[in-house]
Symmetry: D2
Subunit: 279 residues, 4 copies
Amino acid sequence: MSIIEVGCRLEYRVEFETSFIFQVSVLDSKHQKITSESLTSDPQHEIEIGQLGHLGHRIHRVLAQPGWLNLYYSATVSNTPVSIPTNSLGASLHSTLPSTVLEFLNPSRYCESDKLEQFAWDTFGSTPNGHARVQAVADWVYHHLRYSPGSTGPQTTACDVFVCRFGVCRDFAHLAITLCRALGIPARYVAGYAVNLVPQDFHGLVEAYLDGAWYLFDATRLAPVNGFIRIGVGRDAADMSFSTFVGNSMLNHLYVWASDADGKLVPTSKTDNIAVSLG
Amino acid sequence: MSIIEVGCRLEYRVEFETSFIFQVSVLDSKHQKITSESLTSDPQHEIEIGQLGHLGHRIHRVLAQPGWLNLYYSATVSNTPVSIPTNSLGASLHSTLPSTVLEFLNPSRYCESDKLEQFAWDTFGSTPNGHARVQAVADWVYHHLRYSPGSTGPQTTACDVFVCRFGVCRDFAHLAITLCRALGIPARYVAGYAVNLVPQDFHGLVEAYLDGAWYLFDATRLAPVNGFIRIGVGRDAADMSFSTFVGNSMLNHLYVWASDADGKLVPTSKTDNIAVSLG
Amino acid sequence: MSIIEVGCRLEYRVEFETSFIFQVSVLDSKHQKITSESLTSDPQHEIEIGQLGHLGHRIHRVLAQPGWLNLYYSATVSNTPVSIPTNSLGASLHSTLPSTVLEFLNPSRYCESDKLEQFAWDTFGSTPNGHARVQAVADWVYHHLRYSPGSTGPQTTACDVFVCRFGVCRDFAHLAITLCRALGIPARYVAGYAVNLVPQDFHGLVEAYLDGAWYLFDATRLAPVNGFIRIGVGRDAADMSFSTFVGNSMLNHLYVWASDADGKLVPTSKTDNIAVSLG
Amino acid sequence: MSIIEVGCRLEYRVEFETSFIFQVSVLDSKHQKITSESLTSDPQHEIEIGQLGHLGHRIHRVLAQPGWLNLYYSATVSNTPVSIPTNSLGASLHSTLPSTVLEFLNPSRYCESDKLEQFAWDTFGSTPNGHARVQAVADWVYHHLRYSPGSTGPQTTACDVFVCRFGVCRDFAHLAITLCRALGIPARYVAGYAVNLVPQDFHGLVEAYLDGAWYLFDATRLAPVNGFIRIGVGRDAADMSFSTFVGNSMLNHLYVWASDADGKLVPTSKTDNIAVSLG
């Protein structure tokens, strides 16, 4: 169990009335308990709460008037991810997948899995199905993409980075998700806060569906997966932007933090043989 | 009220064991009642039923062995779509949209709405929001794309057809959906059967969210929207394939039909001032 | 006749030995006479001169060692572009085009003219062929793209900006070239210096082949075409980069200038009825 | 020396007056001598001859009226390609490349070499520069793409097939050219006739510039490179279509042949250590 402090501050310049949807608050679940939390805005606004996505994560909505909008979020989380030996994790056969996970086999905006089938089967088809195959995908992405902040943009897809071979965390996640789906393994995008991520920012990881549950994979190896605090899940980053809006505003400043009170969490390495689920 | 007969026959050559998911059965809803229905396969298989998507439409799963697989579906449907005057349909403000429809604002595999925002606002920004704006989108798509069977493929996106200016029904639907989302109007893909469609095939339409409900738009004008029988809805065609599978099979033959017992349904024209919902 | 002063300063950080090719010097031609010129580097290097492209413009090659490389270029040009009334300029029929211009009908890296044929003929097919049709293309580009510095990158193509509707001068040129080629009109990219361009930078224009000669078009309307000093021509910006290299270097600073001694040149307006050639 | 018979028959349905440019005739060069040749059309047309491209290959122009157009071409060629041991072929340094070959370093319509630089250097950077590196590129393409007739289309680029991993001869050539250019090695597309190609069609190969001359590479290994008869060279297939036209016509039938009188030519294998040039 770790006690993890996370939070963010967003500052917008609002030109015209803007209807915002924020996805920044921690998902409260069995293994990720929120012990305290605060969400406020300056100027003060009525903040409407909704629920979204496969896990019903919270969204916060603000209708902002011209001027400045500052949003502050902080939470203390008691984190007890489930860890199990990877060698016990086989595949879930396509014919036995529950209907609820099927949407995570379909290609999506940033994960054109229909285009990478030949490559995926040529490259990973002989690796035993189950955890080993997904780990091989994550390892391949780690070894073939260069992490390069600022190198890609909001329209960059998995196939784009498959060609250019560099990107940021969301690109690493998109490519790993795409390869999993091409192999018939349900995979989704998880947005969250990550302890020890340098530089600090929102982080994006992969969850693959194996043996009846969702397991975390981080193809970037930039932060310990057991120090990852989930905001929510979606098909890809298109579903999990920290902010979307209709109106006219501009993000001026973004500040994100995540820290482990005890300082015991260490970066993931490929030698790990523990699978982590936030289930 | 119309009595509509629909159905399809799919014939596959199965090379290796293949796990199929079919999306061909009619959605049973308040305004679209199934009065009789049959789904069988040859050779006989256990056909497992699941539910999927925003409306919980049925999917059928078959685990097929090498050889042939024939799937036969037929249904008789009592169709009573809701028709209301278009001039009573305003927009739903972004800040008031229910959480359940928000996913239909996000870009998706075939609908890269993030790329067409400038064009969409330049072209439709001055049309009154609500039904008029979505109709303007559908009309624009009708007037600027040529319907050309076989001209596009399974990887063709809305932006692709925005450039090349031709496509098939799913391309027309994708482009209209994309433009709606770019304008902040939730829009989704509806797969179904269409009376009087020539040549017969599965059809793909648009549903846009206006004033608290979903309304049908057909940018192809190939068949009467009140003769459209819904299979289900999704973000785009990636969610609503009539068949997806993992394994090794090839579609050999596809036969689709939809007919109106009374023969009274006529093609949509742009002069219609009735909005149709299957809600 | 105008006397125009142009020049640039490029500053590179060279990590490893780098073989540079620069395309910054003014083309010396009948209507664009160089009266004085200087090209130097710091540290001093042997600068090898070559010739390239359809007009045989000069290139300069430098093999630089690790450290800094500064390149200085300046020239005084006596500019006497040919101006003729636009209404006298008809089209050149495809069947009569000289072989030397045929390459400028082919699609190229940034000008995928094979994709925009339907749009081009739908939109410009009824405008009289010749100068009027090319002017209609340039006007269309001007009216449908927003000039937005920094909005696009080195991989952005004409079809990309046709979708997103913003870009910089090279994007405007690429889209106009693409539409001309799609219409069967030879068109090429001209790189050069432009008096009164704000902010100053290298400029990229279009040349279309009409009635036996090449005529300038500037879809951006940012600077007077009779104040444009040509460096050289190519199929698109891929051929006319101010610098390409093999090795490891980074551009640190770029400074470009172009000024008209008399200050008499004024921005192009769409009401002009004079065609300008640098032939 | 081989005596090779080549030819083709093209049949078009001409809807409206169409201006054709054909690139089907054999290049007459030192090592590829035409001993007899015939080009005729039915109905008879004046066939105008032009010259194009880096090697000045011939083009034939026909202005056809509505109805049918049949073009017949046949030639007997005495073929004596230059064969030299591959181990004597080093690289040409970028700083010493003649200006005339520089255009074949630039990205082009189907060869987006600017996008594959990271991959190219990661994968081939440690192979000795020169023939060995280009051979490694051709071998990589052979081993990673599946040859699949009809799988790709006229808009498919090198990056597209890098992702999907299948294609036809022009795709194999485009990908190999793209990787060479990304590595700073000039590379171009050669269209021609190929003895023993099954099924018969026009063929597309790669020429890479090594040690002062152009050498042939066939990443498909479908036909012997010393049985390849060159029509001409260009940046990519956009320059070397067997036919381009402005007007309204449709290719109805295409028949191509190439045969070796002595039947001695055998398919290329990767164990070859002879480099072939048509110089």
